[in-house]
């Protein structure tokens, strides 16, 4: 039991690290493409405009990234980063299921539900 829990911790640690590295790779690649195409950064961040639709939704971001646009690639990297803790929570659901700890299966499912709602809900 105790060693199973240790193994879960081990996998969780690796999952988190992999997510951060993968995300950094995409952000770095996207940053390269972005800077190569915009030699002079002209965006004015003093005034808040909000991002265009295609950089706000999951499907839009994938579309932009596949088109190899710098901003799309960066945004995909950021999306992976946001998904990393969510994946960790999802993994915990499985871990608690495995331990037959039903109380915590419910607890983690609530957290997971809230996170999924934040990213895709209303």
């Amino acid at each position: 039991m105790e060693s199973a829990e240790r193994r879960m911790d081990e996998i969780m640690g690796r999952l988190l690290r992999a997510g951060v590295i993968l995300s950094a790779v995409f952000v770095l690649a996207g940053g390269g493409v972005y800077l190569a195409r915009h030699a002079e950064p002209v965006t004015d961040y003093r005034v808040f405009q909000g991002e265009p639709e295609e950089l706000r939704t999951i499907s839009g971001i994938f579309h932009e990234a596949l088109a190899f646009r710098g901003r799309g690639l960066i945004q995909l990297g950021l999306l992976i980063l946001i998904a990393t803790p969510i994946a960790r929570v999802a993994f915990s659901v499985v871990a608690f299921l495995y331990q037959r700890d039903w109380t915590y299966v419910v607890v983690t499912l609530i957290v997971l539900g809230l996170l999924v709602y934040s990213l895709s809900g209303a």
């Binding site: 961040y45 706000r56 950021l78 607890v107």
Partner: protein, 264 residues
Amino acid sequence: MGALLAGFLGALTGLGGGVIIVPLLTLVFHVDIHYAIGAALVSVIATSSGAAAAYVREGYSNVRVGMFLEIATTIGALVGAALVIHLHVSVISIIFGVVLLYSAYASMTGHTDSGGNAGPDRIATRLRMDSTYPTASGLQNYHVRGVPQGFGLMFVAGVLSGLLGIGSGAVKVLAMDKAMKLPFKVSTTTSNFMIGVTAAAGAGVYLRRGYIDPGLAMPVMLGVLAGSLLGARLLAAARVKVLRLVFSGVIAVLAVEMIYNGLK
């Protein structure tokens, strides 16, 4: 970029980068606070996930306590992120300033271990939160107390995180250290473990609303990540006491600036 410095300082002092990124972007680079918060939240996830990967394996963090309290922090983060649209920029700046002042105060006073581990608590026992943590003399048992108070404080921490783009580690540690009587090492590592999830809830809302700009988030995220790696490496050699004092001073100045800007 300045983000490198923020990540570096954040990791060095254990306060996280968000607390310094938002004032830096808004006060020095005159970035709109909404973009600044979006970029800060993203960097908070990066540092938290990176650091948590190391901590989880050491066996300090209490996953059950963390998960249970994450219900409060994620709901709080959603509420905070929803509040951002309705609050005026100056109000957000003032709240930020006040929270900064508290963080500066908390990091300066350090901690006095609540020690005196009282007996088991009914709710905590039912939720099987009591656990052990490694010490020099082997595994040490501890009991968890004050679950409702901790839960309430965590909700506040979540709101602040979603509203201001910070990890609100100071409030989280307060909840676990003072209200729930967790050993200090357990509080800080569990707090770090939770920050990523809380920030992810806020960041999801910000992303959908178009507050996260790739051109701005890219240097901030990479800078903070590089900075925190560097910081963690240097931490062993550095004189933490002096650093903490300097950093608290910097934060206090930033806090006053933010409040002053908000009142203008």
